[in-house]
């Protein structure tokens, strides 16, 4: 009897570590980075710079919220950046542009433009959802195709031009401030908060985790797995679309390839934070840490005047380390039951 208890307790210690490694490693990384950059640069540890980091992370953050849902179900969405761009361009397309911009637009009342644009994002998400769940195309391939489609839409709509005007409301969210805080940060925080509540406290959120944890078991428990997968793909497209609208206003322009960096950054944020690539583990808390790690890293590397080529390499290495921990934590977890 004593034996079995011992075995159980060492097993549960191992499991505890496995579980916590996923959460502790990113936080530890974040603290080390903050300490390092604070020592290296006098301006790093200031309120202004902190707000800077948050502002620069806010668009990625909104995309990463949707992606967190997708990755929790063990799917992937490679179309997030392309959809963000296409939707940012779409909202510009529904807005009167300056005369020197040579684009055929359909200007309309701002509120209507926003609603139509949101519908477009919903439409793109629905196409992905249909392909993945009804036709059965793996999400990796389906969203790759969607990436091309969205890029194509962007190209057709702007035709190499740059659009500068957006609905007022969007401009406010993208570049406006309230009490000295950028609206984009507030929007991102709201998205994070709502997503966290949905994932942790609603039935839908539970299904997302269970589908990611063991899809077959969810199906044999009478969960409509396809409906859940379809929903997360649409949620991801909607988040990307909204990030795209706010993003073009944040940048001040909409153009082809405007969001090129965001695919990698958003996936990196989710994975760096410790959400399992195999689904079922992690969540918004992890994504927040991941966003901060990336934000601090990018900001800090700029401040300490490092060779910009080296910067890309360092980002790559840190991402690799995160992947190793991610997969290793999963293995540890499986072997400890």
């Amino acid at each position: 009897m004593a034996d079995t208890v011992d075995i159980k307790s060492t097993r549960s210690v191992k499991r505890f570590l496995a579980e916590q490694m996923r959460n502790i490693a990113p936080v530890f990384t974040l603290i080390v980075l903050i300490l390092f950059f604070s020592l290296q640069s006098p301006v790093f540890f200031t309120l202004d710079n902190a707000l800077n980091i948050l502002a620069n992370s806010s668009i990625t953050g909104i995309i990463a919220v949707g992606l967190t849902f997708v990755i929790l179900t063990a799917e992937i969405d490679l179309s997030v950046a392309a959809i963000a761009n296409a939707i940012g361009i779409t909202v510009a397309f529904f807005t009167m542009q300056p005369e020197y911009v040579n684009i055929n637009t359909w200007p309309m009342y701002g509120g209507l433009a926003i609603i139509l644009t949101l519908l477009a994002a919903f439409g793109l998400g629905s196409v992905t959802a249909f392909g993945v769940t009804v036709i059965g195309i793996p999400s990796f391939i389906m969203t790759l195709a969607m990436m091309q489609i969205a890029d194509g839409l962007s190209a057709v709509l702007v035709r190499g031009q740059i659009a500068y005007n957006f609905p007022d409301f969007i401009v406010m969210l993208g570049s406006g401030k309230v009490f000295g805080l950028r609206w984009s940060i507030i929007v991102c925080l709201i998205f994070l908060l709502v997503a966290h509540l949905v994932l942790k406290y609603t039935r839908f959120g539970r299904y997302v985790y269970m589908v990611g944890g063991n899809r077959e078991a969810a199906e044999y428990s009478g969960v409509n797995v396809k409906l859940i997968i379809a929903s997360v793909m649409i949620i991801s497209a909607m988040c990307s679309g909204i990030a795209g609208m706010i993003g073009v206003a944040y940048f001040g322009s909409a153009q082809q390839n405007g969001f090129n960096d965001f695919l990698l950054t958003a996936i990196a944020a989710v994975v760096l934070g410790g959400t399992s690539l195999f689904g079922g583990r992690g969540g918004i808390g992890n994504t927040i840490v991941g966003l901060l790690v990336l934000g601090v890293l990018n900001n800090g590397l700029d401040l300490i005047q490092i060779d910009s080529f080296l910067k890309i390499l360092i980002r790559g290495l840190i991402l690799l380390a995160a992947l190793v921990i991610n997969v290793y934590a999963q293995k540890l977890k499986e072997s400890s039951g």
Binding site: S12, R203, R206, G213, A217, A218, Y220, S221, G222, N224
Partner: protein, 512 residues
């Protein structure tokens, strides 16, 4: 027939002059972790004979064959090939000595072509290391044709129905030039004409002096094709008898050891099917165009209907179809009199069907706490939008108490529970709101005696509460312990129905 010639050289065993056995196993004992799967078994094969080998699941047939084929190198006892002591360290060694085996589990590569599968591991190579595709495709086509089949050898293996895959795999070993060919349950997925073609090929091989060991649950087949039949029971050899001197009933008696041993639980039962019980689920002539051909049966309120059949008889597909998984091509399902068609498991669940698949992994979340495992199937009843974990824990706590799940905790990860307790959790998820019909696939497989009895008690009490229960199993004991009426399935069809009266294992084996 030319195509039955070897395709890679001659055999390595010298021909035998007298009638001494080509292969002889003496006093073979094989233990797995202390438990003997074979107990001092003698077994021998003559040149140019088809030797049938039968016995219940777990009798040790596959273990003996794996020893002969070099898969299990470590065993006690002696082995002689053509009178010479032999010792194989690997399947490759056995193959070199002219012994080839088709394993019970298909070992094909679905993403390779049919020809590549036929030549798996020994592709014909031309000078310069180039694979001779022309030769490969031509030969594969000829070999398959000699089994009476027209298959394009460049087709993807995975695109063929399972029966054809099995024949292609068979052809791989049949034409390897092996002198002793072992077929471990090769016909489970084959249709009658396919079986007939296989038998023709086996007879031709026999005419060439090859020896064949043929393992099957289909006793009629075994008696038809074999020269001699050996029966294993429980790790022992019962007898080897010329097939001409045996009847099916005698074989069954040898398999289950009638007469000597006293009847134990699960050996026999008195059925009590009652047609006055209202029908809850009626299945009329359903088929999926593959393993499931044409099955009709009724699940009645307050009754346990058992479905017995060998592996691959279509019972898994039948159970899936009733729970909204799998594509029905024909037939109709009625729930309480009205036609239903479940497109998802979610609709089946909401209509009142509960399902426990054959493998616990398929319905449990090992890393999640027990209460989430239980509540997943009733979440929409507990919470429309916002979860109520306290309520989930309370409900789970009740089930834990009722079913005596150990340890009695709702919040530990399910993976910490023993197999029997996990199975109880799998049942518990359907018990909060009694389902109209409960479908159980292999509900007691691989469980220890205590847990088995608990599960049996739970299932029977559900029946007494009015649930219509369907139990599907390949183990006669499970069916005989639980069922009030029994349907025997065979190759996608209903072979026999038993409603009332005495039923024993031999009847099930004879019908399947």
């Amino acid at each position: 027939m030319d195509s039955l010639e070897n395709n890679d050289g001659g055999t390595l065993v010298p021909p035998l002059q007298d009638g001494s056995p080509l292969l002889e196993m003496r006093a073979v004992t094989k233990r797995f972790g202390g438990i003997a799967a074979l107990n001092s078994v003698d077994f021998s094969i003559l040149e140019g004979e088809i030797h049938g080998l039968v016995g219940e699941n777990g009798a040790g047939k596959s273990t003996m064959m794996k020893i002969i084929a070099g898969v299990h190198a470590d065993f006690e006892g002696e082995m002689f090939v053509a009178g010479q002591p032999a010792q194989f360290h690997s399947a490759r060694d056995a193959l070199k000595a002219g012994i080839g085996m088709v394993h019970q589990e298909l070992s094909i590569v679905p993403d390779l072509s049919v020809a590549e599968n036929v030549f798996l591991g020994h592709q014909p190579v031309r000078a310069g290391g180039i694979i001779d595709w022309g030769y490969m495709n031509r030969t594969a086509r000829e070999q398959i044709a000699s089994l009476g089949l027209e298959i394009d050898p460049t087709k993807r293996m995975g695109s063929l129905p399972v029966g054809l895959q099995q024949l292609v795999e068979l052809s791989r070993v049949l034409f390897s030039g092996a002198r002793i060919i072992i077929l471990d349950e090769p016909t489970s997925a084959l249709s009658p004409p396919e079986v007939a073609r296989l038998f023709d090929a086996l007879r031709q091989l026999r005419a060439q002096g090859r020896s064949i060991i043929f393992i099957s649950h289909f006793l009629d087949d075994v008696l038809e094709i074999s020269d001699r039949v050996t029966v294993f029971r429980n790790g022992h050899k019962v007898a080897t008898t010329p097939a001409a001197e045996l009847t099916k009933d005698e074989v069954i008696a040898q398999m289950i050891g009638r007469g000597s041993a006293e009847m134990t639980m699960g050996e026999e039962t008195e059925l009590c099917g009652d047609d006055s019980h209202p029908v809850v689920v009626e299945v009329r002539g359903i088929g999926d165009g593959m393993a499931l051909k044409d099955v009709s049966l009724s699940l009645r309120r307050g009754e346990i209907t058992g479905v017995y059949g060998f592996m691959g008889c279509g019972q898994i597909e039948l159970s899936r179809a009733l729970f909204g998984k799998g594509n029905l091509r024909s037939g109709q399902v009625f729930l309480e009199g009205s036609p239903v068609r479940f497109r998802t498991t979610a609709t089946a669940r909401r209509a009142g069907i509960a399902y426990v698949p054959e493998n616990r992994r398929m319905m449990l979340f090992r890393t999640e706490p027990v209460f989430k495992n239980v509540s997943i199937a009733i979440l929409d009843r507990i919470a429309r939008l916002v979860l109520r974990p306290k309520e989930e824990q309370r409900i789970t706590g009740n089930h834990i108490e009722d079913l005596q799940i150990r340890p009695p905790r709702t919040d530990i990860a399910l993976g910490n529970l023993s197999g029997g307790n996990q199975q109880k959790v799998a049942l518990a998820k359907w018990l909060t709101h009694l389902p109209k019909a409960l479908i159980l696939v292999e509900p007691t497989r691989g469980m220890d005696v205590g847990a088995k009895e608990d599960v049996i008690r739970i299932v029977k009490s559900l029946r007494d509460k009015g649930v219509a229960i369907l139990v599907l199993s390949t183990e006669p004991e499970t069916i005989l312990t639980l069922a009030d009426r029994v349907t025997v399935m065979k190759k996608g069809l209903v072979a026999r129905e038993f409603t009332t009266g005495h039923l024993e294992k031999a009847d099930l084996l004879a019908a399947a």
